[in-house]
Amino acid sequence: MQAHPTVRGIEAEIVRRAFWLLPVTFGLLLPAAKAFGWPLILLHPLPIATGARTLALLALAGAIIGVALVWFWRLGLARGGPKLGSWRLSIVLGMLLVLLLEWIARQPAAVHAVWAALAARAVRPEDYALRQAAMFRQATAPCRTEDGRPRLLVVGTSQLLNNVDYARLQRLLPDMEVKKFSMPGMYPTRMLMTGPRLRARTNDTIAVYWSEFDMCGVSKIDAGWYRPVANAKGMGQVVSQFPLGVFRAQWREVLDVGLASVSELWRDRDAFRLLMHRLGGGRVDAVSPPKAHVEPGTVGVGPYPAGLTNDAVFNRGLESACHLLKTWKDIGARVVVLEGSVSPSIHRAETAPRRLQARNMLEQLCRELGFTYFSEQEQSYVPGPADWRAAPYLKTECRAPFTDAVADAVRGVAPRSGSTRVSQEEVGVGRF
């Protein structure tokens, strides 16, 4: 019977036979990452802009790292057998390595790369929410360059995401840099979490589109929604809005989001998992799982009516909205609140008093804070019953007048009044 080799013997064999493997791997990996990194991340061919000299230096650096690792490995093998203290050292070093990964993941370029890679791969209908989260994380990544113009932050739910033509809005407001910071399901309570990611500042103009339905959209803590956008400051604000009973009932979700608010690796776990399964890209024609299938047109409709009858949920929404407005006031930003509307088909008897309640409260607060509130009647475009294709979404042809209405509202409060209205002919869309 042949005896088993010792683990040291197995290791020594690996190091002896494969000592060249690590230097070669790292020597190839580093220049390849530099040359092909972005094309692989974006799944899009790009010209190689790196010079041969840089690539050669990176190859050398990679090889040196590989040699160093092998050398450390040999050094470890030369020492005595593993003792308890040695295990503790491994655990500490292992944790330090994870912390190093965490630090790398927090770097703006890494954040951008992860979410850009995700956006390129989240191509199936069921990926809709994660794709929009990726867009949001990319749009709010700290490494995004800005051109110095005053910013218009369009912040809201999928209503703003789908109903506004952002290219048109940018053309209508050439003196402002339009930022699409909307996400499906970003009701005021959830906006408390995303708020700090907007990095709103003095002279920014923030446009929101809030109806009574936005106030009743959040009845519980949805970890899947909060996780990718969590941050410590926002977590504190969200926590302040929920009663203790919610935390008791949903402590797992709170723990999950709490971890996401302090760790980028935890925050990006949905992205990492999808990326791992779609490294080469995703098949668009793959059949979606029946339950998870989400049509963009139906996103955000589900929770609307349920929360309307719940005072606690509705009041939480209103309080969150007020909290946000006060925060933006403290920052020195300008805010335009447009009263939101939805298809009359989902209006119910309980909608009318809620609508009035939301309108009165927001209007009064805007007046107190010096912000502008546009009730539905005051907006330059009021969608008619035939203009809706789904409960919260307008028909494609109605996006232009809606965008114009947003631009009109923003113009009233924009920091610079020099912007000229772009005619319909200039933007290439007929007048409705």
Binding site: T6, I10, G76, S90, G94, R269, H277, R283, V287, P289
Partner: protein, 470 residues
């Protein structure tokens, strides 16, 4: 409450903190209380089944031992087996047998109405039933003394780390550990931590992420072409291994922390070179149970070649049926039986090879055996025999292969790379704890991969272990 859930962490923290400070007898009371709490957290009503199984076998084993009449002893044993198998049969196989019986009668022209009952399968029923059965049989055979302490026996049956998915412990091994004082030490804690951490990694990182690929392929959400069928089946091979061996490792780890030693349930099975070796490495507690309490009593290899083949086939067929009431499991059992028979016919009576005797020239046998195992996994995972045929016929089609089609293969490689490294060290080192003896650099890298993987890729949805349903 399952090992990979947050609530379990709380349970374990409390259960262990109290346990560590109690004297031996009180520890047993505490273990019984926590085990019953653990089981009833799923559905308290089925605690009665556990109590029934415990009570019946406790009383009957004593009666067997106390009785001097062989006939009475045999009657007690038969009664015990009837109760155990009756309960198991009702909960697990009633609908399967009645459905198939009615289908058969209908096909023969008899008119019959459906007898389908809405039966919930109690978690772990197959595991603790087999465990109590081996106790009673061993007492009957005189291999061990009947327990005279109900508390000790009840702890043996319900010991929470292995209650719902094994390992199926022999009473002769576990009962003495319950009866005698146990020692806790830092060395045991270190080994236990490794087993728990690695088991958790295998479950929530490897198995649960591979489930995405497997569910897509077996759920018909990918093209039914060779690249997808193959990746789906390979992914399932590692998913079920990560899932089940992950549970077993965690069970061993938790038990070890509390001073118990549970048997090794998996010994790098995908390094097997033939079907006989595979079954010495895969689900060892079940395969040895089937060998000792089914194959050998049937006659084993003592009654000629033909009878040996029949015994082998019958044992594996029943082993397949043990996994679940479906024709796919029956087919899987039959397939395993066929593999064992063919291997025996080709290689002669199996020479016992120690598992560490691994040579590079064995790679070919290992690769072939893995493919054969994967055919079995196709039968095991498929929803129906129709799906098996559809997937097998899909192997003849390649379809249009593009970069996106490589994605599941890349995910499979990424997820299985750490598993491959650890399994290699375990296999060569001849010890499941061999990775603990790695030197600083690979050990640190491995720990970083495990911790980072759990943190960034671990599934937090607390997916149930596959074997809980058996």
């Amino acid at each position: 409450m399952i090992f990979n859930s947050t609530i379990f962490l709380v349970f374990f923290a409390v259960a262990f903190a109290v346990y560590a400070f109690l004297p031996h007898r009180a520890q047993n009371w505490w273990l019984l209380a926590t085990s019953y709490f653990f089981y009833s957290s799923w559905d308290w009503r089925f605690l009665s089944l556990l109590l029934l199984s415990t009570g019946v076998d406790y009383v009957l084993a004593k009666a067997i031992e106390d009785s001097t009449s062989p006939r009475r002893r045999r009657s007690f044993l038969v009664f015990s087996m009837c109760v155990s198998l009756g309960v198991l049969g009702f909960f697990k196989y009633f609908n399967f047998f009645t459905d198939n019986l009615i289908a058969l009668l209908t096909s023969m022209g008899f008119e019959s109405h459906r007898w389908h009952l809405n039966i919930i399968l109690p978690w772990g029923i197959s595991f603790y039933t087999f465990q109590t059965m081996n106790y009673t049989i061993d007492v009957y055979r005189g291999h061990m003394k009947a327990s005279r302490n109900f508390l000790d026996f009840a702890v043996f049956v319900s010991f929470w780390p292995h209650l719902v998915a094994g390992p199926i412990m022999r009473a002769s091994v576990l009962l003495p550990q319950v009866q005698n004082p146990r020692t806790l030490s830092w060395e045991r804690a270190r080994d236990a931590s490794w087993l728990i951490l690695w088991g958790l990694f295998k479950k929530v990182v490897i198995a649960d992420n591979l489930a995405t690929i497997v569910d897509a392929v077996f759920g018909g959400r990918t093209p039914m072409t060779a690249p997808y069928v193959l990746v789906g089946v390979y992914a399932f091979a590692f998913q079920i291994y990560g899932d089940f061996s992950g549970y077993s490792d965690m069970a061993r780890g938790f038990a070890r922390l509390m001073g118990f030693d549970l048997m090794i349930n998996f010994n790098s099975p995908y390094f097997s070179r033939n079907p006989a070796e595979f079954w010495r490495r895969w689900h060892i507690s079940l395969s040895t149970w089937l060998r000792d309490y089914l194959y050998i009593p049937l006659g084993g290899n003592r009654h000629g070649v033909g009878r040996t083949y029949i015994n082998l086939a019958l044992t594996m067929l029943l082993g397949g049926l043990w996994h679940g009431a479906a024709w796919t499991f029956v087919a899987w059992g039959a397939y395993q039986g066929l593999l064992l028979c063919v291997h025996r016919a080709l290689a002669g009576p199996e020479r016992h090879k120690p598992t560490g005797e691994w040579q590079w020239r064995d790679v070919w046998s290992i690769v072939v055996m893995f493919q054969l195992a994967c055919v079995g996994w196709l039968l095991f995972r498929a929803e129906s025999m129709e799906q098996v045929w559809a997937m097998l016929s899909g192997l003849s089609r390649t379809g249009d292969v593009g970069w996106p089609d490589l994605s599941p293969w890349l995910a499979l490689v990424i997820l299985c790379a750490p598993l491959g490294f650890v399994e290699y060290v375990q296999e060569r080192g001849g010890d499941p704890l061999a990775p603990m003896r790695l030197s600083l650099v690979p050990r640190t890298a491995l720990l970083a991969v495990i911790m980072g993987g759990l943190w960034a890729l671990g599934n937090t949805n607390s997916l149930a272990f596959i074997y809980f349903q058996f």
